[in-house]
Every structure is written in structure tokens, then in C-alpha cells.
Assembly symmetry: C2
Homo-oligomer: 410 residues x 2
């Protein structure tokens, strides 16, 4: 692996959709997402690999050494949140491209094909900021979501996934490779590795997560002329719900539950009109499903009491429930060995965030690796990981992928 | 005045921009606003009056009996809030058209021209929901706002007032009439007249009002992966501010202060991102300026403490401060007399809402009349006033306008 080539590529891709303060904005199937896709396609082409694009916009670069053999898939996603950092997702795709290039050269040099072929993937819409739900492309690939249903999802401007992918030229017709195993590397987006000075995290499980779709229905009235006692202000009730969603975390051990409201729309949204309707999305996550269930039950109860107190209607719907997923023990042990062989310390870690690897792990044995995040911040422009940590990660991923194509988890 | 003709016109105009539940939606300078304007222009044309449209979209129908004499102006506005009622504004314009028609016939019949000429006005953008500030057209006419500055105001989609008025063909070049007095009739939008069984309210003063522009600046981060303790969630802080704005009313006598947050935008507004920025607009109103000032001072203090507690930045700016305006005593006495002559009870009343008459009263002696609102609700589809109360109001406005053109307030 050429450290210079990797870093050049990484920092070049960070210029696509660059924002004022060292971040990027490349929401799924926007023009900026299209430009990183063009870059990915050019890399695959220049390396002499075969490019496939499937019917939900996932891109695959295929290295076929043994015709007909299944593939080990490595990669992540190039799309981003609005005003996001340049590491989330993009690091994993570019690391995978360079890991594949190194292994390709080894295979060519050795003259012997390994048991499995290798492919690099750029998953469509991991972030879900423009089109919900998130982790869309890999979930369709893994058979967890219906492709047609996802193609019909629309953004707030009314554009469908189908239209958006078509408009940037990435609604493909390929089926993608037959897969035997998956590996992904990603920034931690937390501060455990940084605090403990450990360069590699081995993800053993994902947190239990769920969302609540909450619709608050008050009555529209005149801000100036309507007496306070006569109002049914949807925004006042919504403000109380936002605080309930935040405060419910205090009922449990410190950081055992994280929650937030990240999306809110207000109608009619006029300075002199009392709000008629507020729609909001709450997100609950914990390493322990019982904690999420208990928090949800408390919220439903409190929201019900609030609706009665304010004489308004609140509709709450569960959606996007994601159970705890455990990564296979064999992959964790394999990764520990690969790290130890390089003289790297590593530790097992849970992921609070969702990842494409969580979807892929339902389909094939999967390995998920983390590198440290400075200050633990992510989904913002000051998200940061060092060049040194990134290079260590590329080397680690290369080692794991080398073992996987040799059949270590077969 | 023909009751049938008035009611036919009123209920016809309510079909323009009609909503599903008996309301209308005709925000300023939209296509729907354009269609009510076309209707107004046709009425003026059919009556044989002269139409003028000025440089901020105000429309005037001029009845010139005495060449060169100043005009008494009567009217209101045909624009509406989103999903609004069909009475707010439109009632006053259509009442004025029919009052003018009745007086025109009297003048023709008598063969003598009164002291003043008469004009009917449809003011541009009273509501301010699409383009802030509200009461835009009459305030420009009265010299309170700069025309050029108002033409540059943009809506949330980036369209300017200049562009929007141009696109519906109502950016005129006329100056409008020279005005000697103004009268307007409107629904109360409160429940005082209904509760007391009084058909006519005589507005003696407007409430003191002001807005606060509040920008809450947190830090964007990952909803899933960021520990609760590491977050600077702009929406949680904004929710507390929304409740502060609501709860500050409890520090004063019942209904002495009304307040609300009606407009809010959230960035980046993604379900799995902790909010970076929330912008909101708070509205404070009272019959007593000291109450608004005390509430504002308490809010600024509480918001400052909140910003420190959450380690975030909150920027607060005062805007749209409107002092108490008193309507002239002579106009109130004149109106009392007109009502009594018709056998109608009336009472003096304050207006909590802003009106075009408040702007016009800074320029010329003005009279503001109210008719009852059922349940006191307004700015919503179930806003309602009865045909009978509307007809009583048209007759009352006709009587007042007849006195004004005769020079009663000169």
C-alpha cells in the first residue's frame, strides 16, 4: 500500500462538496454525491477492475481472479450528512480501494489466485439525511428493505430516490457480486479509542435503536388576537416533547441511553400564527434493548398525559427499529490476530451508530473496524482523524481482507 | 346597499383560494392573491370608477365627484395567512366596495358633491406570512416603511416582493389618492363582542407589540454516536426558549400579555443529526407597553442564563416594535352617533392584532370598526362571522363613510 497515494486520494475526495470549515456536503444522489461516484468509477476503471452499479445505486469495483468464485466485499459510503465531516464513510471507501489495490498486486506477484475474489463497494445513501431510512443501499442489497419501495422514497422537495439516482446517472441494472464475507473500516465517532490510546477498535455488536414519528396537532390561530387560554399551540406541546425525549436519558445510568429530536417541521410557520401542526422525529439508542423499550414506554405515557393537558392530539408511530446485531466471534478473533501481528493494540467496542456492516452482517460474516476520532465528534465540520491513524487503519483493513479472501471465515 | 349583492360578492371571493374546510389560502402576491385582485379590479371597472395600483401593489378604486378634492379612503386587505379564514381582511374590502357603491348612488341622486371624494383600497400584504413585516402596503403608503427596502424583502424560497408583484402583474406606477381620512371594518378576532352581545366595536387603541428574532447556535453532531454529555443541542435549548416565551405571560395579570413563537427553522433538520442552529421568532403583545418591556427583560435574562448553562450561543434582536396608537376621539364619537342612529349598541375596544388602520392613523384621522367573531378564533379555517353581523357592519361603515366624505372629521 502506498501511503502517499492513499493520502492524496483521501484529501482529493475531501475537496468534492467541500464546505467553508474543512467539512463536506454530499447528500445522497445530489450532484456532489455524483462527483464522488465519478471519482470512484474512474479509480476502478484505472485499476483495470470491472464496475457494476445495481438498481439502488450501490457501486462495486470487482477484482475477479477466479472466474465464478464468490467475492469478499470491502467498502463503506461516500455520501454525507449536510455540513458534515470528510471522514465519515469516505475514509472506509478510499481505504478499501487502496487495500484492494495492494492485494491485487500481491496476487499478481504470487501467481496463485486466493479462494475468493475481492470487490470494493460504495453503498448508496448510508446517511439517510435526504432520503429516510438510512443505510438504504446495503439494506436493499442484504434483502432487508424492498428495492421498489426505497426507489419511491421522496425527499422534502418531493424528488424520489429513483428520480435523483437517474438524474446523476447512477440508477444501474447490475445485480452486484455474489458475496461470501464483508469488511468495513470507519471512524469511531466516539471518544473511547482516543481516551484509551488504542489505534484499532473491533466492533462486536451494534446498539439497539428505534425512532418515533411524532405528529402534534393543535389549532391554528392568530398570535396577536387569540387569548392565551383559547390557544391550542402545537409548538408549545412539541417543545415539551423535545425536552421529554432529552430528559428521559436521565432515568437510566449515565450514557446508557442516548436520544434526540433531529428533525422538526412546523405548520404554517408564520411569525403571527399559533402553530397548527408540528412533525418531529425522535431517535432512541442503547446497548440494552430493555432500556430503549422502557424509555419508549415512559415517553408514550408522558406524551399521552401532555396531549390531555393541552387538549390537543399527538400521534406517535414506531419506525426504523434495529435490534442489537452481534458480529461473528471468528471475525473478531481473526482481527485481533491481524492487529497483534502488526504490533497494534486493539479492543472490542460497541457501535452506537448504524453502519452498512450491520446490514451486511445479517447476510454474510462481517468484520467492522474503527479508528480513533479526535474529540469523538462526528456529523460536523470539525470531525477529525489523523493521517497516521488513517494509514494504520488501511494497513489493518488490508490484513483482514487478505485473510478473508484466503478463506479465513469460510 | 343591496344585502344580496354584498353577500353574493363576499361568498364568491371566498371561493378564490378556497381550502378543504371553508377557509382560504391567498398569501401576498401568490396566484390566488392575483385572482382576488383581478376580481377587485373588475368590480372597480364595472362600477365606472378609476383604478390605480401603486409601487407596492396597493390597489385603489377612485370615485371622483369633485375634481382635485382629497379622498376619504375605506378598505382593508384581500391577502390571507396560510390555511386561513375567509373573513379576515376580505370582509373589510368587500364591505368598503359596497359602501362606496351605495354612497355613489346617493351622490348621483342628490346632484350635490360632498366635500371629499371617496376611494376604496385593497392593501398589499397585511398578513406578513410570506413576506415580513406585516402591514406592508399601508405602512409604505403612510410613509412608515421604505418602499425600495420592502420591494427587496424575500420569502423563504428567495423570491422578492418586487419579483412576486411583477409576476402577478400588480407592481404599479400610480401614486394613489391624496387622503384626508380613513375608515376600515374588520372581524374582531377575539370574543369580547360575542360574549357581550354587541354588534359593533369601536377601536380606540392598538396594543403595544414587538418581536424578538432569536438565533440559537449549538454544535452539529451525530445523534447516535455522540455521548449526551458531549452535545450542544440547539433544539433542546430552543425548546426551553419556546416554553419561556409561553410561560412569561403567567408573570402578569390574566391575558394582560399574549406571546408565542410562530416561526421556527432547524438546521440541518436530519433525523440522525443533533441540531446546529435554530432560528425562531417570538411575538409579545400587551395593552400596556411596560408589561411587554418587563417580559422582554425577563426573557433576555433567562435566555442568557440558558446559553451559559448549555454552553451555546443565543443571539436575540428586537424588531417590529409597534407602540400603542390611539384612534382620534372625534372619530369614536362620530361612530357612536352613527351606531346610535341605527339603533345599534356599540362599545369601545382595543385591538390586540395589527391592522392597516393603525398605520393609516399615523397619517390621517382614522376610524376602525369591528364586528363579532364566533368563538373568537381567527387565522384558521373555522374563523366565522354571521351574514347578519356582516350586513350590520356594511351599513355601519356606509354611515361612517358618508359622514367622513361630508367632512365630519375635517
Amino acid at each position: 500500500m502506498s501511503a502517499t497515494a492513499f493520502l492524496q486520494d483521501f484529501h482529493h475526495v475531501a475537496t468534492i462538496g467541500a464546505t467553508a470549515h474543512n467539512g463536506v456536503e454530499r447528500q445522497a444522489a445530489t450532484a456532489e454525491d455524483g462527483r464522488t461516484r465519478d471519482w470512484f468509477a474512474a479509480f476502478v476503471h484505472d485499476a483495470g477492475w470491472q464496475l457494476q452499479v445495481d438498481g439502488i445505486g450501490n457501486m462495486f469495483g470487482l477484482l475477479e481472479w477466479t472466474p465464478g468464485a464468490p467475492y469478499i466485499l470491502i467498502g463503506s459510503h461516500l455520501d454525507s450528512q449536510p455540513l458534515a465531516g470528510r471522514f465519515d464513510g469516505a475514509y472506509g471507501v478510499i481505504a478499501a480501494l487502496h487495500a484492494a489495490k495492494a492485494i491485487d498486486a500481491e496476487v499478481a506477484g504470487s501467481g496463485t489466485a486466493p479462494r475468493y475474489n475481492l470487490a470494493v463497494v460504495n453503498w448508496f445513501n448510508e446517511e439517510g439525511s435526504r432520503f429516510a431510512p438510512s443505510i438504504m443501499g446495503s439494506s436493499v442489497f442484504a434483502g432487508l428493505f424492498e428495492r421498489e419501495q426505497m426507489l419511491d422514497v421522496r425527499d422534502l422537495a418531493g424528488t424520489s430516490v429513483r428520480e435523483a439516482l437517474g438524474s446523476i446517472g447512477y440508477l444501474g441494472a447490475d445485480t452486484g457480486p455474489e458475496v461470501a464475507g464483508y469488511a468495513e473500516i470507519h471512524i469511531e465517532q466516539g471518544r473511547i479509542l482516543e481516551r484509551e490510546g488504542i489505534p484499532i477498535g473491533l466492533v462486536d455488536s451494534s446498539w439497539y435503536t428505534q425512532k418515533l414519528d411524532i405528529e402534534v396537532l393543535g389549532e391554528q390561530s392568530h398570535t396577536g388576537a387569540t387569548a392565551m387560554a383559547d390557544r391550542h399551540d402545537a409548538l408549545v406541546a412539541a417543545a415539551k416533547i423535545i425536552l421529554m425525549v432529552h430528559d428521559v436519558t436521565k432515568d437510566f445510568a449515565e450514557e446508557a441511553l442516548v436520544s434526540s429530536v433531529g428533525q422538526l417541521t412546523l405548520e404554517p410557520n408564520s411569525p403571527i400564527v399559533v402553530a397548527r401542526r408540528v412533525h418531529l422525529v425522535a431517535d432512541l439508542r442503547s446497548g440494552d434493548p430493555e432500556i430503549v423499550r422502557a424509555a419508549r414506554a415512559k415517553l408514550l405515557q408522558d406524551i399521552d398525559a401532555l396531549a390531555k393537558e393541552h387538549d390537543i392530539k399527538v400521534n406517535v408511530k414506531d419506525f426504523d427499529i434495529r435490534p442489537i446485531r452481534r458480529f461473528p466471534e471468528a471475525g473478531l478473533e481473526l482481527s485481533e490476530k491481524v492487529a497483534a501481528n502488526r504490533g497494534l493494540t486493539s479492543r472490542r467496542i460497541q457501535t452506537m451508530a448504524g453502519h452498512d456492516s450491520v446490514a451486511m452482517n445479517t447476510m454474510v460474516p462481517s468484520v467492522m473496524l474503527f479508528i480513533p476520532s479526535v474529540d469523538g465528534v462526528s456529523h460536523c465540520e470539525r470531525e477529525f482523524s489523523t493521517d497516521g491513524d488513517m494509514l494504520t487503519g488501511v494497513d489493518m483493513l488490508t490484513g483482514v481482507a487478505r485473510e478473508l479472501v484466503a478463506g479465513a471465515l469460510a
